[in-house]
Symmetry: C2
Subunit: 499 residues, 2 copies
């Protein structure tokens, strides 16, 4: 019995002479009552063909195949989807946020090691351990290998066979390569980490020539990747990191994104990430905005402007790196990076971590992975726990553009306020009203927790704050004493309505 | 002879029984060589029908009409377009900027009086004088009258006749009403002011019922408005101010915008302005983003984020008001509003002014117009002169997201840096390199002007600054002495390459 939202795999025997993998070898139609899902199959070496499907509902499913190959045509079967054993894949929820298929909110706290997939042991496994132990729940890495700066390892295992003329032959994927990718996704998933799979990369620099595929070849590869991986509840798609480094027409990227949206039977999350030129994240195929801009998180009141433009989740997937290299993108202190995550959080956005200390190989963690050296991961794991403990779907700026305190939350339910890196001696209770949603009323009662974001402590204030002065734009508990704070620390406040 | 980019009007006599104005009574096809432009005509009272066309090129044009009415069908004529007498209409130029048809950059410094069109004399004319004398070059006002707060005057002249049941009859426009609008556009245009025409309004509150037209009625009105006004080189279109106050599906607004784009033969600028919920300014019909968000201009590094999301001009058409009413949107000091304009300027964006001092009638200037009372208009006229004196198409942030000084301009040509409201004693020459465009080189020479944005002075430093230290991200003239500044004043620097 396959649990709901996990992978049901069908193994079929096809022609001895493999069907070129640049066409879909078969399609399986899964049916339960009025629900029908068409799932592309894929070649898995020799005469082996697979179909991977993730049932979204419990109960009996039947399936039948169609194919131009007689061996793969008209095969039928049934299976039963049982109770879920995990929360399921992640989708957009509450406009600017995410939730698993079972409704559990998913608050991404991302990590990055672009070339990780291509590393040997022990780095490969150490990376998974380090991510899981720190508490990251999303990880960006590339399918194709990297050949840019700080790359010290070039893999032997590559994704395709070659034509006689040396060009890549996307009709002949290297199965061992893609099984390694399957395994990577599963191993991360088993540790609670979503794979933000970077489909193409802009860092080939002609070394592998994988940036020289034609649009048709890119499409064939994309279809193969989707058929292979999309049933996994641990997969997100990103067309490319810094896509605009490649000299390609925007329309070609958009067509690739539209193709992805049209062929993915499981509709995993989709985005694309830029260097200098933003894609149009309002395109329907884009589920969330994946953005590079460190400066959007260095001050309050910035990242939230992206929410104005894009009514989708905003994930600041590149906000510079904790490290000590001379490049200005690679020498944030741990404190600064953690600060920027909290600024992003109260802007109603999400962010991703990366580390740019030089590793023993001469590379960077953000390239190859491995154990963390920085101070931020432990604090970001703490941030993730704070986010997971929220009782609301997500944090939205309450009084968008007008709140000098940048309080985020859900009106009249729960709030998070971040005081920055240098807290004052005390905080006086005050909440913004905002223009949308429930309005605060006299008598509303709140509890407050003082969160030390660097020293990773949560300290309940231990008394109730009852609103006694509710104005048009703000509400106060004037009868309550101020809350003493650990002055000079990077402090946040969690304010939860209890009555 | 009609000058290029001005209105050539054809007067025709049609049926005595007027053609209902909710259909286009005739179309005139204008031809010059391979160029053909189809221009809708419109009813102008009794048996009078007009076609207004603005020729974009000099020389002989011929035209012929088609119409379901025999009187208006098959009429032909010719005219000669002569040399231009003005710079022509405004269009998008250099991605985030504007230029007139003759190539002259247009840098909007906007003003606002929503209900001005509906005022009596002397306010009506005083407003035009006040705008022109201050130096504003764009003016936002509504076609339909306002019935929201601070409205003290309700007009007798309204845009349509009524059906017997009291509903508005958009097939019978009140010609005197629209002639008044024609006149308003022309009078402003003659003073160098573009009309940012707010087609619908969200402040009817049921008083006039003009917010209760059906989608088809809105469309008929829009077509009439376009036929009547679009030949004027002084017209911009805005579908609505704070459109999302009205309870209408987004798709209806988008259809109206698409209709506007499809029916306007002169392709005047088009946008829509929001209260809390942004429209998708990346839609093809939107030529520029018209945005309400004061906070985007209170600090550096914010408004430019809208440029990331929208590769179009960003016009911050509502950034709060200079005035003294209690509402938090209406009590900026003149200094603060001028400061915000300069912050918007170096963010590569444009802004609009409004004044919320209470007028003798009990209204506000931003509602009815009239003479200015505030301190900002004179300084904004000065800003406009600074912008008009630039030798570059527009100001773009040079080192987008990474420049602590927020220098804008065009690489290796000209720069503007705004130091904020409280200048230091001196400034040391330094320019950012940025990631795009020409790179600075040792030996490049610059002249610097010190601009006092509040005291409206421009003081040349009177010496040259020659780059002697060019680094990856910044360039310096280390051999040059610092520039003394009027400390404590709101100072900007204009830095122009001379060699």
């Amino acid at each position: 019995m396959t649990p709901v939202d996990s992978v049901h795999e069908i193994v079929l025997t096809g022609p001895v002479e493999p069907i070129p993998a640049d066409r879909t070898p078969l399609v399986a139609r899964f049916t339960q009552g009025a629900t029908t899902v068409e799932v592309p199959g894929f070649w898995d070496g020799a005469d082996r063909y697979l179909v991977r499907f993730s049932p979204g509902t419990e109960g009996d499913w039947s399936w039948s195949t169609r194919s131009a190959a007689p061996e793969l045509h008209g095969v039928t079967g049934t299976f039963t989807a049982g109770p879920r054993t995990g929360p399921g894949g992640v989708a957009v929820s509450a406009v600017h946020h995410f939730a698993h298929a079972d409704g559990t909110p998913f608050r991404p706290v991302g990590a990055t090691a672009y070339n990780w997939l291509h590393q040997e042991e022990p780095i490969f496994s150490e990376t998974v351990d380090a991510l899981a132990e720190a508490g990251f729940n999303k990880f960006r890495y590339m399918v194709f290998p990297q050949a840019g700066g700080y790359v010290e390892h070039f893999p032997d295992l590559l994704p395709f066979e070659r034509h006689a003329d040396g060009r890549w032959d996307v009709s002949r994927p290297v199965v061992a390569f893609f099984r390694r990718l399957d395994d990577a996704v599963e191993r991360l998933g088993a540790r609670g980490i979503q794979s933000d799979v970077l489909i193409l990369n802009a860092y080939d620099n002609g070394r592998f020539g994988l940036d020289g595929l034609t649009e048709e070849e890119d499409a064939a590869y994309l279809r193969y990747l989707v058929a292979r991986l999309s049933a996994s509840p641990f997969v997100w798609w990103s067309l490319c990191n810094e896509f605009d480094i490649l000299d390609r027409p925007t329309a070609r990227w958009n067509r690739l994104g539209e193709l992805l949206a049209s062929v993915d039977p499981h509709q995993r999350l989709r985005s694309i990430h830029q260097w200098m030129r933003f894609p149009d994240h309002n395109q329907p195929w884009v589920t969330h905005a994946s953005i590079q801009n460190g400066a959007a998180t260095t001050e309050f009141g910035r990242a939230s402007l992206y929410r104005d433009a894009y009514p989708k989740p905003i994930v600041l997937d590149e906000i510079k790196y904790e490290g000590d290299i001379p490049d200005r993108w690679g020498h944030l202190s741990g404190r600064q990076l953690v600060h920027q995550f909290w600024v992003a959080t109260v802007a109603g956005c999400y962010a991703s971590h990366g580390e740019s200390f030089v590793t023993p190989s001469g590379s960077l963690h953000m390239v190859e992975g491995g154990p963390f050296r920085g101070e931020s991961p432990a604090r970001l794991g703490f941030l993730r726990r704070i986010l997971d403990d929220l009782v609301i779907p997500g944090l939205d700026p309450i009084d968008r553009w007008d709140d000098p305190a940048y309080v985020a939350g859900s009106p009249r339910r729960q709030y998070l306020q971040y005081l920055g890196q240098d807290a004052p001696e005390a905080w006086t209770f005050r909440l913004p009203q905002g223009n949308l949603g429930d309005r605060l009323e006299v008598g509303d009662a709140f509890e407050v927790d003082v969160i030390d974001t660097w020293n990773v402590t949560v300290t309940p204030v231990g008394r109730r704050f009852v609103l006694d002065d509710v104005q048009r734009n703000d509400a106060y508990a004037k009868g309550a004493d101020p809350v003493p704070l650990p002055a000079g620390e990077a402090v946040a406040l969690r304010i939860t309505r209890v009555e």
